[in-house]
Amino acid sequence: MKGLLTFITGFVILAFALFLAVITGDYGPWYFAWLVGTTMIVLISASGAAMFDRQDEELNQKGISSR
C-alpha cells in the first residue's frame, strides 16, 4: 500500500513536471531554460563536490592527506 502511494505520488510529480515542461517549453523558452539550467548547475556542482571526497579518499590511500 505504501509502495503504491509512493508510486502514485511520484507519478503525479512526474506528470506535473512534464506538464510544466510542455507549457514553459512552448510559451516560455527561457523559463524552461532556467528550470533545466538550474537543475543542471545544482547537480553538476554537487557531483563536483562529491568527486572531491573521492579524490580525497584516493589521496588518503596513497598516504597523502589533502585535508
Partner: protein, 544 residues
C-alpha cells in the same frame, strides 16, 4: 490647465528611487544565489551522509541570514515608493503592474519568509530529507520572488498584456499570458537569477579563498571552493548567454536602449563591416563619439545574430520618432476632447487611430508652448518635434559605460571561475596563493556587475517609465522639494546605519569562520550564535 511636475522633484524622486533600489539590490542577488548553493551543499549531505556538508550548509547559512534580513527590510521601501513617489505611474499602470507584485507576496515572499525560519531552526526537528525540501523551498521562493518582480519590470520595458483604455484613462490588464510570457521578462528573470548564482558563487569562493590563505578549516574551505567554482563557472556562462539574449530582445523592443548601449550615432548600411565600439566617449551635444576604438566586423553578428540586419543609429532613431510624436500630439488632443465629452465619437476615433503613439504625446508636453499641446501649430511644430525627438534617447554616456563595466566584470569572473574550477579539480588550488588572493579581492565584482546591470536596464529605459507609453517626468507625484529632502535625508541616515551594521556582522562572522572541529562526525558547536538571524525568520516559532 495641465501642469508639469516640478522638474527638481522629478529628479529627486528618481534619485531616491535609484538609491533605494540599488541599495535593495545589494542584498537580493546574494539571496538568489546563496540559497541554491546552500541547497546544493545540503543535497550532497543528504545523498552522501557526510556530516561535513551539513556543517558547511549551516556555516554558509549563517552568513546568508545576515544578508537576508536587510533584503527583506529594504524591499518594503520599494513597495511603498511606487505609491509615495510615483503616483501617476501607479495609477496609470497599477491595474497591470500591481498584480505581479501582489502575486509575488502571495506566492513567493510568504513562502520564503516562512520556510527560512524552519531552515535555520528546524535541523533537529525533521528528517534530513524533509529539511532538504525546506531549503529548496527557500531557494525556489526567493527566485520566484525575483520572477514576479521581473515580470512587473518586463512590463515597464516592453509593455505586453495590457492596453490603454480611454474610458478609465489608464492601462488595463488584458492578457495574463501576455504579461508573464513577455520575452523581456523571461530573459531578464533568467539573467538576474543566474547573476545571483554568480554572486553567491563568488561570495563563497572568495571567503573560502580567505580561509585557505589563513589556513582555517581547510576541510570546509576546499569543499566550498570546489563547489562554488563549478557553480560559478556554469552560471557565468549562463549569465553571459542570457545577457546576449536580452540584448537581442532589446534590439526589437527598445532600439533606443541598444543604440545607446553601443554608442551608435549613425546607421551603418554596411552591416558586415560595421564596427563595434570597445571604447567610446559619447557626446550628447555633438551627437557623436569624440573618441572611439572600434572592432570592425563584430557589431552586426554580435547584436543581431545575423549578417544583414541594419542597426539604426541614434540620429536615425530620433528622425524615426518624429512621426510618432506628431501622431502622439494628435492622440493626446483627441483624448482630452473625448475625456471632456464622452459622446464625442469623432475624437474617440481620432484617438484610436493614433493610440499607439500617445506616449510620445505625453513626452511632447514638456516642449509644447506653455506645456499645452493644443498650442502646437505649424510654425512651432518643427522645434517641438526636434526637442522631443532628442528627449527619446537615454543618456548615452551612462548607458555605454554602465554596460561595459558590467560586461567586463562578467568576463573577468568567467576567466576567474574557469581557473578556479581547473585548479580545484586538479586539487592543487593551495599551490597558487596569488590566485587565491585574486579570488579574494574579486569579491566586489558580482555586486558591481549587478548594480551596473540595473543601471543599464533602467537608464536605458529612459525617458520612459513604461516604454513608449508613459514618460518618467509625467509619472512622479507632485510633492514639494522639502518633502523630498526630508525623505532623502531619512533614507540616507537609516540606510547608512544598516549597511554599517551589516558589514560589521558580515566581516565579523566571515573572519571568525566555521568553528574548529577536527572530527567530521561531530556536531558543530551550536552555530556560534545566530547573530544574523533574519528578522523574518521566526514567524513560525512558538516559544511559549
Amino acid at each position: 490647465m495641465d501642469m508639469l511636475i516640478n522638474p527638481t522633484v522629478v529628479e529627486l524622486s528618481r534619485l531616491q528611487f535609484a538609491l533605494t533600489a540599488l541599495y535593495h539590490f545589494l542584498f537580493v542577488p546574494l539571496t538568489l544565489g546563496l540559497t541554491f548553493i546552500l541547497a546544493t551543499m545540503e543535497t550532497v549531505y543528504v545523498v552522501t551522509g557526510k556530516q561535513i556538508y551539513k556543517e558547511m550548509t549551516q556555516f554558509w547559512g549563517k552568513l546568508f541570514a545576515i544578508n537576508f534580513a536587510l533584503g527583506v527590510a529594504t524591499g518594503l521601501t520599494m513597495e511603498f515608493e511606487f505609491g509615495t513617489n510615483w503616483s501617476m505611474y501607479s495609477h496609470f499602470v497599477g491595474d497591470i503592474f500591481g498584480t505581479p507584485l501582489a502575486i509575488e507576496g502571495l506566492m513567493a515572499f510568504f513562502m520564503e519568509s516562512t520556510f527560512v525560519g524552519v531552515m535555520f531552526f528546524g535541523w533537529d526537528r525533521m528528517s534530513p530529507k524533509a529539511h532538504l525540501v525546506v531549503t529548496y523551498l527557500v531557494a525556489l521562493g526567493s527566485n520566484l520572488s525575483a520572477l514576479w518582480i521581473l515580470i512587473a519590470n518586463g512590463f515597464m520595458q516592453d509593455p505586453r498584456g495590457g492596453t490603454f483604455d480611454p474610458n478609465t484613462m489608464r492601462m488595463q490588464f488584458t492578457s495574463f499570458v501576455g504579461l508573464i510570457f513577455n520575452p523581456d521578462a523571461q530573459a531578464k528573470f533568467v539573467h538576474t537569477s543566474i547573476a545571483g548564482f554568480v554572486t553567491g558563487s563568488m561570495f563563497v569562493m572568495a571567503v573560502s579563498a580567505y580561509y585557505l590563505l589563513t589556513k582555517k578549516r581547510r576541510d570546509i574551505a576546499l569543499r566550498s571552493f570546489r563547489l562554488a567554482a563549478i557553480f560559478g563557472v556554469i552560471s557565468t556562462v549562463g549569465v553571459i548567454t542570457l545577457g546576449d539574449a536580452l540584448g537581442y530582445i532589446d534590439a526589437h523592443a527598445q532600439p533606443t536602449k541598444l543604440a545607446a548601449m553601443e554608442a551608435i550615432w549613425e546607421t551603418n548600411p554596411h552591416t558586415v563591416s560595421a564596427s563595434w565600439n570597445l571604447i567610446a566617449f559619447p557626446s550628447r551635444t555633438e551627437q557623436k563619439n569624440v573618441f572611439e576604438i572600434g572592432i570592425p566586423y563584430v557589431l552586426t553578428p554580435l547584436l543581431t545574430h545575423s549578417e544583414d540586419t541594419v542597426i539604426p543609429g541614434i540620429k536615425n532613431l530620433e528622425q524615426d520618432a518624429k512621426p510618432h510624436i506628431e501622431n502622439g500630439i494628435k492622440a493626446m488632443i483627441a483624448l482630452k476632447a473625448y475625456n471632456a465629452d464622452h459622446n464625442d465619437t469623432a475624437a474617440l476615433a481620432t484617438f484610436k487611430q493614433y493610440e499607439k503613439d500617445m506616449g510620445y504625446g505625453f513626452l511632447a508636453k514638456e516642449f509644447a508652448p506653455d506645456q499645452d499641446l493644443a498650442k502646437v501649430n505649424a510654425s512651432n511644430l518643427p522645434s517641438v518635434l526636434d526637442k522631443t525627438a532628442k528627449a527619446t534617447i537615454p543618456n548615452v554616456w551612462v548607458e555605454f559605460w554602465a554596460f561595459r563595466l558590467m560586461v567586463a566584470a562578467g568576463f573577468f569572473m568567467l576567466v576567474l571561475f574557469a581557473f578556479a574550477a581547473y585548479y580545484s579539480l586538479k586539487n592543487e588550488i593551495e599551490k597558487h596563493p596569488l590566485f587565491l588572493k585574486i579570488a579574494l579581492w574579486s569579491v566586489p565584482l558580482p555586486w558591481i556587475a549587478c548594480e551596473f546591470g540595473w543601471i543599464t536596464a533602467e537608464n536605458g529605459r529612459q525617458p520612459w517609465t513604461v516604454y513608449g507609453w508613459l514618460p518618467t517626468f509625467v509619472s512622479a507625484s507632485s510633492h514639494s522639494v522639502s518633502y523630498m529632502i526630508f525623505s532623502l535625508i531619512g533614507f540616507v541616515l537609516l540606510y547608512s546605519t544598516f549597511i554599517a551594521a551589516e558589514l560589521y556582522l558580515m566581516f565579523k562572522y566571515a573572519r571568525l569562520g566555521p568553528q574548529e572541529s577536527h572530527h567530521h562526525g561531530e556536531e558543530p558547536a551550536a552555530g556560534g550564535g545566530m547573530a544574523g538571524k533574519p528578522a523574518f525568520a521566526k514567524s513560525s516559532m512558538n516559544r511559549s
